[in-house]
Symmetry: C2
Subunit: 359 residues, 2 copies
Amino acid sequence: MLIDPWGSELLEYEKVVNDFGLELFNKKLFPKPNRLMNRGIVFAGRDLKRISDAIKRKKKFYALTGIMPTAQKLHFGNKMVIENIRYFQENGAKTFLLVADLEAMIARKISLEEARRRALEFHIPAYIALGINPKKTFFYFQSENRKLTKLVYAFSRRITLSEFRAIYGKADPERILAALTQAADILFPQLDEKMPCIVPVGIDQDPHIRLTRDIVRRTKTEFGFIAPSSIYHKYTPSLDGSIKMSKSKPESCIELPEDPDSVCRKLKRALTGGRETIEEQRKKGGQPEKCIVFELHKQHFIERDDELAKIFNDCKTGKLLCKECKQIACERYTKFTEEFNKKFEKARKKIDRLKFLKD
Amino acid sequence: MLIDPWGSELLEYEKVVNDFGLELFNKKLFPKPNRLMNRGIVFAGRDLKRISDAIKRKKKFYALTGIMPTAQKLHFGNKMVIENIRYFQENGAKTFLLVADLEAMIARKISLEEARRRALEFHIPAYIALGINPKKTFFYFQSENRKLTKLVYAFSRRITLSEFRAIYGKADPERILAALTQAADILFPQLDEKMPCIVPVGIDQDPHIRLTRDIVRRTKTEFGFIAPSSIYHKYTPSLDGSIKMSKSKPESCIELPEDPDSVCRKLKRALTGGRETIEEQRKKGGQPEKCIVFELHKQHFIERDDELAKIFNDCKTGKLLCKECKQIACERYTKFTEEFNKKFEKARKKIDRLKFLKD
């Protein structure tokens, strides 16, 4: 296979793995790894053997992720998390999908009522449209989960202010509360039964994982939780080539969903590995390993490996030019959006049937 | 009347009033003030006019206090709070009695289950025995009050770490959480309806009142709460003469309930305003204004003012000697205990009938 698992950011991600004490992701640990795992987009993790064992021996474990009900758009980062959740769900994980309404209230001043409305009208149907199986998922709102509250209080005396500062850089009351709440989200399923847990996140969320694992160690006698495992995916780069897509640069950012016309227009201006002139590219070939559009194909648009390999090779040999390649991306995004919208509408109609954990 | 409203601690309490920006308690504001108010044991407050108006105009207001379900004993400080709560309850206050189970978990590592057991088996029946009317009281456990949780999160972004430090001297995660929880306890009844609130506390609890009032100001647009009013009672002095009874000196501390024999034995060694010899005391008279036993009479044992005046005068004139006076205290405590035990047992039998707020 020709896919470079590290892409253009090799050194950067390697540094992260070393600095944070992560383990490199080894796809051999997991049966039928998904596209993200296969292509090295999932690049690292913590305590992965534990999850591998649970899957292989069909033991109980759980996967969880949270919805921050702010903007009524998702991004590729959310999509990757959902795809990974889906992988674990299909491999036997009990799945928890929580709405971080308390955190949204703290961080974004969104009322609990508004957070609920947004989650029900957009985020939860969108997560289902992207592959979460609602019948196999436990949903809850943070503000309705009393067990969570109890853990937040219990954990509060296990971490000092200086430790918060060491992990988060800054410690203020609302951040402390948000961080303790995330740890409680990750661990509360184990109040009923101790079991391994997998949390798929972007690398920027690792501080929460570290905090949670610290808390697990410190509450060993009190709770005896099993430390959560985690996997990390690489960022989807910005269309202008910088490391992470961000709404702050709307012309370089693709949202989910977004009008395909708008996306195709943005793709036309995306940074590629193309040469100065068509002639030069026909002769020397393109540089897919430097190309944002190829990275999008790899991360999101092209599911089949042979198809991706063909694009790579056709680019390398000068057969496939950037314009055509961007057209492929444009078509794939358009198709993705159509499918997403259909599934989304279907999920939204059934939203009343969902059951939410309350305690 | 001869009762010195400030007793031997006049200057100290005056300083507190000035330093903390309190108002002196003016008993004329309140119809039929209770013994503690009448005798200057309740010595200060905040925003008392607001409560006075509510009582006089029969407007809605509420009183609240919390139970910390730690030791299965009360102290005179609890008794004074309960007597004041009772006063406001009898004067029309909607009354909230909360079990601070989340705080007990943080501060004393008591599990929520243990906190519940203690509250139901001891504290709540004891509070009822001391005069809380259970039929007119809303009880709740912090851990079961979701509205409280929401307020804790909402308040967390209104106070900075430095401000916590300024109020409490120290800021660590569990203290921050405990303080925010107290503010939420005080204010959550106003989520349903804005109304004045009175919180009777010992002066050492004033930081919580200040924090809560700060939060009220800062959440004006968001919640529009009315700032809580408060009243402060003086400490019951230790039998050895120091300013506050404390369990750390068990021989100088009377608990509620405690075996009357043990109490009478301790009373015999209490610091009094007596003279060196009986002869001298017969001639010069005693000094009740310096006497711990007289302070106990004044604060707790002697309900009727004319009776207290007689003890004061008989001491002053050398007619009542310390031994006899201590015997009065001993008899009163014994009688108090008998009555307490009877009421306590009665309240405990009915504990299943109490209704707890849940949300």
